[in-house]
Amino acid sequence: MIPRWTIARRASAAAFLSWLALGWGIQGSSVATRIADSLPFTDPLAALEVSLASGELHPHLWIGAGVVLGITLLLGPMFCGWLCPLGLLLDLAHSLERRVRRLMHRHVGVERRLPPRTRILTLALVLGFAATSGLPLFQLISPIHAIGRGIVLGFDVALGLVALLLVVEIFVPRVWCRALCPLGGLYGWVGKHGLLRVRIDPERAGQIRCRRCDVACPAGIAVMEEYALGGATSVVDEGCMRCGACTEVCPRGVLHMGLGASRKRREN
């Protein structure tokens, strides 16, 4: 089966980066952009940090951040899977790693230990720091923006952080997206109930307990065990990046991405 979502997702993130680099009708970086010199999109974490650091609300800043938060609230944390430059890089790196492991006949599976979910901790850390220090620290050290800003204004030493992360991720897969990223933590929290999410066909769920979805999930969500076998009709999870990886490996078509409010849990 052609991994349509994966292709679409990577194409989307790559297109976003290229668009930023080319600057045709778009200005700015992954922190804040303006499309057609009017439509603002602002990183909501940057807006939060700056508001806390300066002790002012900056209403004008929250227009752009509000647009992004609104989309996230409605659809889900789309930035993570579909636009994040670092997400794209890590995604490609892990996919390459999987291929190499397969060539070396190493087992690829859930047995690989994933780091715990502690994004809430880093998010609180960054916000607490901004409020007392008066510095939007994450905007200085973010590896996401090291790429997203670097491609527009020229890369610098901050890219070293990205390189370091790539090395760490070989040993602790997905440590950034699962445990460290405060931006993903914010998006996951806001977009948890977003309408575009993985839908589960309850009639067919659990017929083959292959766990391919659990293995495929980059966020380490137990799609089958927790959701499909639990009788859920959709995956409502803070860690879900709407990447569609689980839907692509499902041999029975139990999982698919879709819009629409979730139905109540099946009576069992």
Binding site: G23, Q27, G28, S29, V31, A32, T33, R34, D37, P40, T42, D43, A46, A47, V50, A53, S54, G55, E56, H58, H60, L61, G64, V110, L114, P116, R117, T118, I120, L121, T122, L123, A124, L125, V126, L127, G128, F129, A130, T132, S133, G134, L135, P136, Q139, L140, R149, V152, L153, D156, V157, A158, I221, A222, E225, E226, Y227, D237, E238, G239
Partner: protein
């Protein structure tokens, strides 16, 4: 299977999340208090026009201003700038602010998403800093007829005045601090420098 379901549940339980958030806030706020004094300063740089007093707190480090600048005067500070990293700076000797001559508005202030750069009421009210002349090096003050800075100044005769021997002096109340004079100065090291505001 059972073990995984237990260890990999759908995320931390509410009580654990609350604890994590509280620990994060505590450590973050504590560390923030420690760096507050040193961090806020972050060195003095010539900033684009309309820069907020609390610049390090209000600047998003997005680079929109640098991209919008029609004369490429704005460069984002490198890692060596410490807490000023990725904030916009102007090296007037390299490329001074031309106050967007020929444009309807100051482009950097128009695109800035926060209030880090906000448009002054008029160009005359821009206060990026104040120019100062080193009279020991200035050609005119050494007796050579020069006037390079005066010719370049956007407000000649107002911000830069010439005396009867064509020696320039800065009228601090009028000088906008754009640095065009710094760029124009003929001496090897500019004899006129802008002292950045705050």
């Amino acid at each position: 299977m059972q073990t995984r379901a237990e260890t990999e549940s759908a995320g931390p339980r509410p009580s654990r999340r609350l604890l994590l958030a509280a620990v994060g806030l505590g450590i973050g706020a504590g560390a923030g208090t420690l760096v507050r004094e040193g961090g806020r300063h972050g060195g003095t740089y010539l900033r684009p026009p309309g820069a907020a007093a609390d610049f390090l707190a209000t600047c998003l480090r997005c680079g929109l201003c640098a991209e919008a600048c029609p004369v490429d005067a704005i460069a984002m500070a490198g890692v060596a700038a410490g807490t000023s990293y990725a904030t916009p700076t102007i090296d007037a000797r390299e490329a001074p602010c031309r106050l967007c001559a020929g444009f309807d508005e100051l482009r950097c202030t128009a695109v800035c998403p926060s209030t880090a750069l906000s448009a002054p009421a008029s160009r005359r009210e821009v206060r990026m800093g104040v120019a100062r002349i080193d009279t020991d090096r200035c050609l005119a003050w050494l007796g050579v007829v020069c006037r390079a800075c005066w010719h370049a100044c956007p407000y000649p005769g107002e911000a830069l005045a010439l005396d009867e021997r064509t020696r320039p002096s800065v009228v601090e109340e009028v000088c906008v601090g754009c640095g065009i004079c710094v760029h124009a100065c003929l001496t090897e090291e500019s004899s006129i420098q802008v002292t950045p505001a705050s």
